[in-house]
C-alpha cells in the first residue's frame, strides 16, 4: 500500500504555560539534541535547521498576530472538569505530545480572521492555535531560548532570535504602513 497517510497534530494554547529548553546528548554519539517544552507540547529538535525554522515561524507570529490577539483568554471547560481539576491540584504535569523535528520545518502563520479569533502557527505537521498574547509569549520565549542554546551546542546556527524577529517585523511594517492598499477610498464620503 503506497498511499501516504497525512497527519496533523493540533493543540490549543491559552495563557502562560511552562517553558523548558534543555540540551540532550544520547549515549550513541556526540550529537546534541534540544528538548523544547511549551505547556503540554514537547519538541525534540535534532539539528539547528529544525530549531531556527520553527523559531522563525514564532517570530513571524509575534510580528503579524500579537496586536490582533486578546491579552488573555479563557479555556473552554472540559466535559470531565471536576476530575481534571482534582488531578491538577495534585501537581502532576506531563507532556501530552512528543514531536520530533529534523531538518528545515516548513511553516505557515495565519493571523486571526473574521471567523477565527486565534492565530494559527503551523510547523510541518504540528499546528498550534494561539488564543491570546500570553500564549504567544510563552511559545516565543521558548523558541528564543532554543535558538540561543542551539548557538552554543549545535553546529550550523547562523542567526539569532533577535534577527529573526527583526526580519519578521520588517516584513510586517513594510506592508502595513508603507504600502498600504486603500480599498476604502472607493467607499469614501461624497464631496
Amino acid at each position: 500500500m503506497n498511499d501516504s497517510w497525512p497527519m496533523q497534530l493540533a493543540i490549543d494554547a491559552h495563557e502562560m504555560d511552562i517553558v523548558r529548553v534543555r540540551p540532550k546528548q544520547f549515549a550513541s554519539g556526540p550529537q546534541v539534541h534540544l528538548k523544547v517544552r511549551t505547556g503540554p507540547l514537547l519538541v525534540y529538535c535534532l539539528d539547528s535547521k529544525a530549531v531556527t525554522s520553527i523559531a522563525a515561524a514564532w517570530a513571524q507570529a509575534q510580528a503579524s498576530s500579537a496586536h490582533l490577539l486578546p491579552a488573555t483568554s479563557t479555556r473552554p471547560e472540559s466535559t470531565g472538569g471536576g476530575r481534571r481539576r482534582k488531578t491538577s491540584i495534585q501537581g502532576h504535569a506531563f507532556a501530552a505530545s512528543d514531536v520530533v523535528a529534523e531538518g528545515y520545518q516548513r511553516w505557515d502563520v495565519i493571523a486571526p480572521t473574521p471567523a477565527q479569533k486565534f492565530a494559527i502557527v503551523t510547523t510541518d505537521w504540528l499546528t498550534v492555535r494561539v488564543h491570546d498574547r500570553s500564549a504567544l509569549e510563552t511559545h516565543t520565549h521558548a523558541w528564543a531560548g532554543a535558538v540561543a542554546l542551539a548557538a552554543r551546542c549545535m553546529p550550523g546556527v547562523t542567526t539569532n532570535f533577535d534577527q529573526l524577529l527583526r526580519d519578521a517585523f520588517d516584513r510586517e511594517l513594510a506592508h502595513r504602513y508603507r504600502d498600504e492598499p486603500t480599498p476604502s477610498r472607493s467607499t469614501g464620503r461624497a464631496r
Binding site: 511553516w107 502563520v109 493571523a111 494559527i120 516584513r171 513594510a174 506592508h175 504600502d179 492598499p181 480599498p183
Partner: protein, 101 residues
C-alpha cells in the same frame, strides 16, 4: 464589501510592493486563492531554496472594514520538477487551513 487578496513582495531593504490578485465575496474564497498562488510560486523554486511568501487578505475584520489579515508561509523545495511534491504542498496548505474556524 468583500475581500481583496494581495501578494506582498520583499521587505523594507529591497522595496516593498504589492500585487492585487483578486476580489472575493468570502474570506474563505480569498484564502483558497491565496493557497493556490502559493503553490504556483512554489512550482518555480529550485531544490534547496526556501520560499517565503506573504499575502494579505484585506477586508472586514477586527480592525474595521479595512482590516489586514496576513498569511505567511515558508517552504523548502526538496526535489526538481516533482509534481508529487507540489501536490503534497497543496494538500498540506489545504489541511492546515482547515484548522481555521
Amino acid at each position: 464589501m468583500g475581500y481583496q487578496l494581495y501578494r506582498r513582495t520583499d521587505g523594507i531593504d529591497s522595496g516593498a510592493g504589492s500585487v492585487l490578485l483578486g476580489h472575493y465575496d468570502e474570506f474563505e474564497d480569498a484564502l483558497t486563492a491565496r493557497d493556490e498562488d502559493t503553490v504556483r510560486l512554489f512550482e518555480t523554486t529550485v531544490p534547496g531554496e526556501v520560499m517565503m511568501v506573504r499575502h494579505d487578505i484585506v477586508g472586514p475584520g477586527a480592525s474595521g472594514p479595512v482590516s489586514f489579515h496576513p498569511v505567511t508561509t515558508a517552504i523548502e523545495r526538496r526535489t526538481v520538477n516533482d509534481a508529487a511534491e507540489v501536490d503534497e504542498v497543496r494538500g498540506w496548505l489545504k489541511r492546515i487551513h482547515a484548522f481555521a474556524g
